[in-house]
Symmetry: C2
Subunit: 316 residues, 2 copies
C-alpha cells in the first residue's frame, strides 16, 4: 500500500496528514496554529513534530506540500512568505527529500487547492476550471486540459489584481478598483469603516455588533449584519459580489473554462452575495460563453487534498 504524506504551510496554521493512495479518508491528521512571531525555522520545527505524529513508524512513498506564498513549482523552492519571515528562497522540496528520502512536490496554495478540487472536490470530471479563494486576499489557480497552468513565471491566477473599476478605491498594489480591493474580507471591513467615518447614521446593526468600535469590524461581521438587514453592510456585500462577478465574467471571456470554483471565508457571506456574483458573471460574459460557478467542496482541507493530488500528477 502506497502512503502519501500531505503538508500544509498555511501562513497562520500548519497541518500534516497521511492517506493511502486511492483512499478518500485521512489515515491520520494533525493541525496546529502557527505561533505569533513564527519564522520559517519555528514553522519547520512544528511541522516536523506533526509529521512525526502522523507517520508514527511508517514511511511515505511521496510528499505533497501546499505553501501559502509564491513557490517555484519546478524546483520546489519557496520564494517568500507574506506572513512569516525567513522563507526567502528556501529549497523546501530539497530539504524534505533529503530528510525523508522520498520524492517531494511543492506548489502554492491556490494552485494546490485548484488541483485538490479537481481531483477530489467540486471539479471532478471537468477538463478546465479556475479555482478562486476570496478571503484575506483574492487569488486563483488554473486547471487547463486536466493539468495545472501556472503561467510562464509561475504567476498565473492573480484575479485579485485585475482592475474592474478604474475609478475605484486604491489597492495595496497601487492600482484602483482591483477585485481584491473590493471583494476581500479585510477590504470590506475597511470600506465599512470609511463609510461610517463620514456617516454614523447608517449601519446601525453593524455598529452594534462591534459595540461602536470600528476597529473590530471584519468581513464576517459585515455578512452577519447584512443577513440581519443592515443597509450599509448590504451595500458592501453588494460591491464585493459585483467586483468578483465582473472579474469572473472577464475571465470566462478570456479563457472560457468549464467551471469556476469559489472558496474562502467571504463565500460564506450568504445567498445574496452568491446571487450577485452569478448574475454579474453571466451579464459580463458573452452569451455564447458557457460556464458554471460552484462552491468549493473541500473546505479547510483543500490544500491537503491538493497536496495529495500533486504527488499523483507529478509522480506519474
Amino acid at each position: 500500500m502506497s502512503l502519501i504524506l500531505a503538508l500544509d504551510f498555511g501562513g497562520t496554521k500548519l497541518a500534516a496528514a497521511t492517506v493511502n493512495i486511492g483512499a478518500r479518508e485521512w489515515l491520520s491528521y494533525e493541525r496546529r496554529l502557527s505561533p505569533a512571531n513564527a519564522d520559517a525555522n519555528t514553522d519547520l520545527e512544528i511541522m516536523r513534530s506533526l509529521i512525526h505524529s502522523v507517520l508514527q513508524d511508517s514511511k511515505p512513498t511521496a510528499i505533497g506540500v501546499s505553501f501559502g506564498g509564491p513557490v517555484d513549482a519546478t524546483t520546489g523552492c519557496v520564494l517568500l512568505s507574506h506572513h512569516v519571515a525567513g522563507w526567502e528562497n528556501l529549497p523546501l522540496k530539497q530539504l524534505l527529500e533529503a530528510e525523508f528520502g522520498v520524492p517531494a512536490y511543492v506548489d502554492n496554495d491556490a494552485n494546490v487547492a485548484a488541483l485538490g478540487e479537481h481531483h477530489f472536490g467540486a471539479g471532478q470530471g471537468y477538463d478546465s476550471l479556475f479555482y478562486i479563494t476570496i478571503s484575506t486576499g483574492v487569488g486563483g489557480g488554473w486547471i487547463l486540459n486536466h493539468q495545472p497552468w501556472r503561467g510562464s513565471g509561475g504567476m498565473a491566477g492573480e484575479i485579485g489584481h485585475i482592475v474592474v473599476d478604474p475609478n475605484g478605491p486604491v489597492c495595496l498594489c497601487g492600482k484602483r478598483g482591483c477585485v481584491e480591493r473590493l471583494a476581500s474580507g479585510p477590504y470590506m471591513a475597511q470600506n465599512a469603516r470609511e463609510l461610517l467615518a463620514s456617516d454614523r447614521t447608517r449601519g446601525k446593526i453593524l455598529q452594534n455588533l462591534v459595540e461602536d468600535n470600528l476597529e473590530l469590524l471584519t468581513g464576517q461581521l459585515i455578512s452577519q449584519a447584512a443577513a440581519a438587514g443592515d443597509d450599509l453592510a448590504q451595500e458592501i456585500i453588494q460591491k464585493s459580489a459585483w467586483a468578483l462577478g465582473v472579474g469572473i465574467g472577464n475571465v470566462a471571456n478570456l479563457v472560457n473554462p468549464q467551471l469556476f470554483i469559489l472558496g474562502g471565508s467571504v463565500t460564506k457571506a450568504g445567498n445574496r452575495w452568491w446571487e450577485i456574483v452569478r448574475q454579474l458573471a453571466r451579464e459580463t460574459a458573452l452569451p455564447e460563453v458557457e460556464f458554471q460557478i460552484l462552491p468549493a467542496a473541500l473546505g479547510d482541507d483543500a490544500p491537503l487534498w491538493g497536496a495529495v493530488a500533486l504527488t499523483q500528477v507529478n509522480g506519474q
Copy 2:
C-alpha cells in the same frame, strides 16, 4: 515533397496559397475581394477557382483553413459568419476532405493567426503567448504549452469584451466600457463623431481630413490626424491605447503568458499608441508578472501561415 494548401475565408477577402512543408515562401498565392452581398456559396465558388489556380495539377497532402468567424475546431464545422450569410453550421472540413481526398483542418482566424505567429512570426520560440488583433473588432488567440488553447466551448480569447471601464460607453454586446468599445477602429471613429457632434471647435485637422463629413471618419484617419497634432484625435488614440493596455495587464495577471503579439490595422496608429499600451499594461500587471509586447510579424498573411501551421499541429 509534401505540399500544403492554405485557405483564408476572411469575411471581406478570400485567399489561397501553397507551400512545401518546411519552406518559408509561397509556391503560389492568389487573393480576391469577397463581392458585396456574397453568400457562403459564392465565397466557396470563388475559393474553388483560387484553389484550382494555385494547385494547377498538383495534389496537396493536407489543407489548413482560417475562417473569419466562430468554428468548432474539433469537427471543422463553421458555426456562422458575422459578415456573410449562409455559413450557419456548414461542415467545411468534411466538404473539403470529400472534394480533395486529403485531411483538412479548420479554425477561426484569431486562433489560426496566433498559431501562425507562433510557428513562423513574432512568437517563434515562445512557450505561451496571446495574439490580439485590434481592427474592426478586437479578439485574440491563445498558445499555451506550445498548443492552441481554444477554451472549453471554443470561445477563449475574447479580450474585446472584457470590461475595463464600467462607466464607459455602451458596446454592441450590451455592456459598458468593453476593450473593443474603446479600442477598435470603427468605435474610435464613432467616439470622434460623438465628441464633434457636441463641439466642433476641436479636432480641426481631423474635420479637414474628411472635409467636415463626419460619416467618412475612420480609425485610420484619426491616427493620421493625431500624428499631425490634432487634439481630439490624440484624445481618442489615448483612450484606445489605455483600454487595450489595461486589458493586457489584466490578462498578464490572470494567465501570465510570456508574450503578447498585437496585429490589425489599429496597431498602425503610431508610436504614441504603442507607448501608452505598453505603459498601461506594465502598470496594470503586478510587478512580479513579466511579459513582452511585440508587433505581429506576418501582416496580412498571418491567417494563411497559421493555416499551414494548423496542418502541422494536427497532422503530427
